[in-house]
Structures are given as C-alpha cells and as structure tokens.
Amino acid sequence: MRMIRLSVLLLSVSIVACSQPPATGIASARPARLRIGFQAIPNAELIAKQLGWQEQTLGVPIEWRQFENGRDVNTAIAAGSLDLGLVGSSGGATGLAQGLPYSVIAIHDVIGESEALAVRPAIHGVADLRGKKLAAPFGATTHYSLLQLLEANRIEAKDVTLIDLAPSDILAAWIRGDIDGAYVWQPTLQRLYDAGATRLTSSADMAQRGVATFDIAVASRELTTKYPDVVVAYLRNLSRAVTLYRDDQPKALDALAKELGVSVAQARMQATGLIWLTAEEQLAPAYFGQPGQPGALADALKKTADFLVAQHVIRAAPELATFQRGADATFLQRAGNASR
C-alpha cells in the first residue's frame, strides 16, 4: 500500500514537473491546492469554472465545493476548510461582525430582479401582508430584504408569521397552500411565478430604496496574506468572464447553462436578474471604492449588520472601520490593472 502511494506521489510530482507553467501563471508562492466554495447562482464564477479558466491560469489544483447557502460557507471558512467562497451580503456582514478570519475581495453580482417577494394574487400591496404567512431562507439576503420591507412599512414581527424555509421547500409549501408568499431567488422564484404567484417587490426595488444586497466573494485571511497573487489571478478570471458575457453572450450563456443544468433561455432569464461588474467597475465609489477611499459596499455591510442587531438576529456589530478593512479593494485593483 505504501509503495503504491509512493509511486502515485512520484508520478504526480513528475507530471507537475513536466507540465509547462501556464502562460498567465503566478510567479510567486502557490498553495498546494485552492478550495473554492461556489453556489448555483448565475454569475461569472460559474462561467470561469465551466471554461476551466481558474485551473488553467492559477497553476494549482482546484477543489470545487458546492454550497447551498452562505451559512455553510461561513462555517467552512471558520473551520479552515475553505479558501474562497460566495456568500450573500447578509451572510458576509454576519461573518465580519462575528470576526470570521476573511476579507470581502469582490462582488460576484448585485442582486436585482432575481430575488423577489412572490405572493398570492389576492395580495395587492405590502399592507396586505398583515396576518399572512411568509417564507424565506433565514440568514439569506432575501430574509434581510423581507425584514427591511416589513420594517419600512411599519409591519411588526408579530403581525406576520415568518417561516424559515429552504428554496426547495418553499415551492412545495406554496403548491400545498401552506404559505401566502415567499421572498426567494431563482430558479425557485420562476417556479413560483409559474405556479400562479405574483411579484410584489424585488431586490431591484429594494436597492432603489437604499437596501442593496449583493453576492460577494470572501477569501480566508490565510489565502489573502500568504498568496495574494492567487487571489488576484482568481479575480482576473472572474472579470474576464464578465467581459465574455458582454462580448460573446452565446458562449457565456452556453457555459452558464451547462453549469446550472438548465436551458440557455433559462440561463439568460436567470442571469438578467443580476448585475455583473468587472474588476474596474467594482472599484467605483458605489461599490468598493479605491484602497484608502472606501466605497459604499462597506457602508452597506455595516448597515446590514446594524439592522441584524436591531432585529436581535446577531448580538453586536463592530464599527464601520471594521467593514472598511473587511472589504479589501487591493486585489480588485491589481486584477483590474493587470487586465488592461
């Protein structure tokens, strides 16, 4: 057994030694492997993954691990089992507030129509929500958006029944008639519409009212301190995928559809509900800002954490400075410069 293992090891070492370094490879230190936690959300990550770009350019073996929610990503990074991950802005705000050893390094997407509150047709306005049963996956961005919507319309927690349901269970509960509405994302959202639900409000509407939500990329402190070049190269691939989506949409959507296991038409529909940004665009004051001049993302994260404290969801939120440090634009800036 030991002999076999040794020979496998020698073989793999020799393969690595013989293979050519990738064209846009990384000169400095590389980790033994990169563990990326992804979610089935239509964004640049999945395009770069399907096209094998990260494997080609990072020069390290990549372990792709699928997650269903930001909570598990947070837990995995806390446990040191993950280097990069995708979380929603509320999951990220929670993580930073609880002192998880990670930085927010990029915005995967700004959430728009892809997350919405779908309700029974008899519900015409937010005021009609009183006394109703509403579902959302607790801790997710939609839960946050729903709480914000209720608060903005002065509907108290006791006036509605909020139920914690995973997206797959939301559909079943809707069909059975157990719930009157759900704030949820694609593809469940479309299935709710197909099953007769109407759209009461969306995260695009919420963003216009100042309640912006994002899907963000977080990187463990170990990765950002030891292997910053890997982080930059990873972000460069994401930015490249955003550009591909704009320049050659059929190819990008084809990759996306394959990764999501849906038709190209469905992939297009899902992707249009999210706003994708290149590395340069994310450096705008509306998002990351420049290093030294923190943008609105840190404010949004702080606002999210404060709101969760006010809702007794988490106990305390740190100062704005913590979120400004936590949203680290340096990697994006380097990725943006390098791609020019």
Partner: protein, 260 residues
C-alpha cells in the same frame, strides 16, 4: 479502618468531572487563541441563557421553544407507543402478521429520517403534522421490535402452566404474556423516546418557527455559538429528564422487573 477510605462517593466524582469540564472550557475560551464563534466562554454562554430567558428568541420565549419541542416529542412518542405496542404484540403472537409487517419495518428502520422527510413535508405540510410524523416514524421501530421480541421471549412453561390450569387464551395474554413482556416493552419505550429526541433537530429543520432544535439551527446561521451552546445544554438536560421520567414510570408500572 473503613474499606472506603480514600474513595470518594459517586456524586462527588460526578461533581469533580463537571468542575474540571467547566474549568477546561473556561481556560480554552479565555485563552484568546480561539475566537468566540468557536468556543464562547461559560460566562458568555450563561449571559446568553439569561438573555434568552428574559427576551426569548425570535419572538418566542425560551419556555415556548422548549414547550413546542417537548410537545412534538411527547405526542410522537405517545403515537409510537399506541401504534407500536399493539403492533409488536401482534407480530410477537402471530407468525403470519410478522411475515406481513416485519419487512416493512425492517426496510424503513435503517433509513436516515432526512431521506424521506421532504416527502412527509410535501404530504403533510410544513406545520407540526410533518414534524410529529417524522418523530413518530423514528420512535416506532424500537417499540415494535422490543415488544415483539418480548412476546416471543415469554417462557413457554409459564404459558403451558397457565393453559393447563384452565386459563383461556385471553387470560393467558392478560395475566401471563403481558406482564412478562412489560419489562422489555419498557426498554423499547426508553430507546424509542431517545430516538425520537435525537431526531428532533432534523424535524425542526424544515419550516421552523419555534422549538429548541430550530433555535440551535437558526443560531448556527448567524454563528451565534453561545446560543448554540445554550440550546445543546438545554436539550441534554431535557433528554436526561425525559429518561429519568421514563425510569420512574417504569419502576411504578413494572415493579417485577428483573424478578421473572
């Protein structure tokens, strides 16, 4: 010299274990090497507990959470007993019934409850019915199997003795088989309530609005380790309480345990 010189009585030993555990916990948590989301200090956990007592969790008081969970467990447990004991008696007494029912129970017994939970939710909805059904299904097999085995294990000379003295089948059942089986049935019931209780968190995973299991799951979404600790300790203590209650009922209902 007393033979127990230098030996400590059992309660003191238990106390020592607890104190050592608490001290180790405090040392690890206060060392500053592990972040609070890994291990909250005992003090912080206590504060979380008092906070939960004072303010509740997500709009329900701690007692409501505990009560909701206990109600689900007890209703499911009573259901398992009401279905499981007659079924087990039947299976133990009749080979034909055993041949009909046993395969079903043997098939679903080892299934992880989460595997079929979604089906229960689709069939019964997201309310308490699906949760109780899941708990009931988890608690049923130990009762059925223990009862059936108890009936089969009744010493045949007891039965023959009663029959030769002129007892009817019903009398044999009522006065021989049932009392002789009760100790093992109670063992089955204790195992059953344990199974039911260990499935609680899974049952409260879908569509939770209350319950200690749901509280722990919800707290984990926000890395509230202190609440998780409180929830786990509460569930542990409650579990011990349930088992103690079962033993009490057993000693009252089956005083002849170990004497037949």
């Amino acid at each position: 010299m007393s033979p127990s010189r230098g030996r400590l009585p059992a309660p003191i030993l238990t106390l020592i274990t607890l104190v050592v555990l608490l001290l180790t916990w405090q040392l690890i948590a206060a060392s500053g090497r592990v972040p609070a989301y890994f291990v909250p200090t005992p003090v912080r956990t206590w504060l979380a507990f008092t906070d939960l007592v004072a303010r509740g969790y997500r709009g329900h008081s701690l007692l409501e959470h505990l009560g909701a969970s206990l109600l689900r467990v007890l209703v499911a447990f009573l259901g398992s007993a009401l279905i499981g004991i007659p079924l087990g008696l039947g299976i133990g007494a009749s080979r034909r019934l055993a041949a009909m029912i046993n395969p079903l129970i043997e098939f679903y017994r080892p299934l992880p409850p989460l595997a079929y939970y979604t089906l229960l939710v689709i069939w019964l909805g997201i309310g308490d019915a699906s949760k109780i059904a899941l708990l009931l299904l988890a608690g049923l097999p130990p009762v059925v199997i223990a009862t059936a085995s108890a009936v089969r294990g009744v010493r045949s000379d007891y039965v023959h003795g009663a029959r030769s003295l002129g007892a009817t089948r019903a009398q044999v059942f009522r006065h021989v088989i049932l009392p002789a089986s009760l100790p093992e049935i109670f063992t089955g019931l204790r195992v059953s309530i344990g199974f039911t209780y260990t499935t609680l968190v899974a049952a409260e995973m879908v569509a939770g609005v209350n319950g200690v299991g749901w509280m722990v799951l919800d707290a984990s979404k926000f890395l509230q380790s202190d609440v998780i600790f409180v929830g786990i300790i509460l569930m542990g203590v409650t579990g011990l309480g349930l088992d103690a209650a079962m033993r009490l009922i057993e000693s009252w209902a089956v005083p002849w345990r170990g004497k037949v």
